[in-house]
């Protein structure tokens, strides 16, 4: 096993991307994810890669679009307000079926908001963010090790399905240091015969495009894309289940909220309450089956979020409202404490639910 090193979450993303064969990074400065750009700026020139600080988030995502068109692994990173700017490009990447990796180290919003951690871009990420019918694969790491692991997985999934993968992190996971080891088996990028690498006068010209003036053709393209999405929902949904088998009270939480919740679940178990945690690792596709499986024995589900309640809607949909779902939250850059979550568990347990 590779030696464990202490690294910030943001640095782990950058290192993992390089190990995944990403040699092109474009970004624009914004807190709290600047470590990614700094790491890339230092490393890329030494390994024959490109680090370029773009004039805006909009330019950065379009540079990503260019490299993705040429068939190479490429990424950008930003934080919430910057992701809004990139949303135009995300829609075009989806419309042109291009693989790319985008990192969002979320901070509080709306507007300029704050710079402290948040999960309030859940809707934006899981519903696509830009205009049109589309999804991105959304991965939610909750440790520095997962920042690395899911970055690599993100590149693989993006290439496999020709779509954008987003790492939906937050300021805390990005800034914290934990031990991480980089002993990954990395799938090489598949052949990309569709890429615009020059015809070399050996094939008809390739066109990367999202414009379909023929409505029937555009409809067909959308339907086919959604058939691909259905396959992804079937194959790629992923969640961690922690003490849920016999749980009366189930916490639903991802990222930093899941770590806080785990402390609370342990505390609840110690005081005799059967609590458990479902931690979605893929937010899209949402691990519906895992929630459906436990909807029968749970008395109540508590969605713990750093938002005013976004993922809670997916939990309700996944359980088809068979179980009452309540919300435990902090916003604006605040983080729920384990004690706050514990109190919510105690309260839910006393109320008894269904």
């Amino acid at each position: 096993m590779a030696e464990k090193v202490l690294m910030k979450g943001n640095e782990a993303i950058a290192e993992a991307a390089i190990q995944a064969g990403c040699r092109h990074y474009f970004g624009y400065p914004i807190t709290p994810q600047t470590e990614i750009a700094a790491y890339m700026a230092k490393r890329m020139p030494k390994i024959g890669g490109t680090f370029l600080q773009a004039e805006s988030e909009i330019a950065a995502i379009n540079m990503v679009y260019g490299v993705a068109s040429a068939g190479k692994r490429v990424m950008t990173s930003s934080s919430s307000p910057g992701i809004s700017l990139k949303s135009e490009g995300l829609s075009y990447l989806a419309g042109a079926d291009l693989p790319a990796l985008v990192v969002n180290a979320q901070r509080g919003g709306p507007g300029l908001g704050g710079i402290q951690p948040s999960q309030s871009d859940y809707f934006q990420a899981t519903r696509g963010g830009g205009h049109g019918d589309y999804h991105m694969i959304v991965l939610a790491p909750s440790s520095v090790q997962e920042m690395a692991q899911l970055t690599i997985r993100g590149f693989e999934l993006a290439d496999e399905y020709r779509m954008t993968a987003m790492i939906l992190a937050d300021g805390t996971i990005g800034q914290m240091m934990e031990p991480v080891s980089f002993d990954f088996e990395i799938k090489e990028a598949p052949a990309k015969p569709w890429a615009t690498t020059g015809t070399k006068m050996a094939r008809p010209h390739n066109v990367i495009n999202s414009l379909y003036l023929n409505a029937e053709l555009l409809e067909k393209t959308n339907i086919e894309r959604y058939q691909k999405y259905a396959l992804i929902e079937e194959k790629e949904a992923l969640a961690e289940e922690y003490m849920v088998e016999d749980a009366d009270i189930i916490i639903a939480a991802f990222g930093i909220a899941a770590r806080v919740s785990k402390n609370a679940v342990n505390e609840a178990r110690a005081s005799g309450i059967k609590a458990g945690l479902i931690r979605p690792i893929t937010l899209w596709p949402f691990p519906k089956a895992v929630f459906a499986k436990h909807a029968d024995h749970a008395k109540q589900i508590i969605s713990v979020e750093l938002s005013m309640g976004q993922m809670i809607e997916d939990v309700q949909l996944a359980t088809q409202c068979k179980v009452p779902v309540s919300l435990c939250y902090r916003v604006g850059g605040m983080i729920p404490t384990p004690d706050q979550v514990y109190q919510a568990i105690v309260e839910a347990n006393e109320k008894g639910g269904k």
Partner: protein
């Protein structure tokens, strides 16, 4: 030790994040689960800064330290802010050359180390943080010379290798300081 939570607090520039990192690396070398979390943003630049470190035999849950077992305070605002968050029976280390008042709590162990003054006197100008770290590890009976040395090597880049000895020296000063 099942889980031990540390909070380092003071001004930006006092090296709190660095000493926290040395502690975290020492934990990693000793096969513990560790996390290190800084406050970030404008407050890092000259305002109050703090850093949460957790060492544990179990996987670390929430990385934010709200009720530390150990508080290292390097300025008055930090002591004012965090004194009452320290767990009963916990430890407070105070840089007494920068904080004039005494700790009011009577249910914690308090150590006063004039770290900034000691650093100046011993030609370790900016290493008050490491003097406090030396004292802290000695108080916890966790001063393992080998792992401390390895941790320092991990945290100090080859470019600044000349700083290694100075850091070791600062930690020794803290270790041997008696009130």
């Amino acid at each position: 030790m099942a889980t031990r939570e540390f909070l380092f607090a003071g001004f930006g520039g006092q090296g709190l994040l660095f000493s926290g990192k040395v502690l975290a690396y020492k934990g990693l070398i000793e096969d513990k689960n560790v996390s290190w979390l800084p406050s970030y943003g404008p407050e890092m630049r000259g305002g109050t800064a703090n850093c949460s470190v957790i060492l544990s035999d179990e996987p670390v849950g929430a990385p934010i330290v709200l009720t530390p077992e150990v508080l290292v305070a390097m300025n008055l605002p930090s002591l004012d802010k965090y004194e009452n968050t320290v767990r009963k029976g916990g430890i407070i280390l105070v840089d007494s050359s920068l904080i004039e008042r005494k700790v009011e709590r009577t249910d914690v162990d308090v150590y006063y180390v004039p770290a900034t003054k000691l650093a100046d006197e011993n030609g370790a100008g900016r290493l008050a943080n490491m003097i406090l770290m030396g004292k802290l590890l000695s108080v916890l009976d966790e001063y393992n010379e080998e792992t401390v040395s390895k941790a320092l090597e991990k945290c100090i880049s080859a470019r600044h290798a000349d700083m290694l000895d100075l850091n070791r020296k600062a930690m020794e000063i803290g270790r041997n300081y008696a009130e």
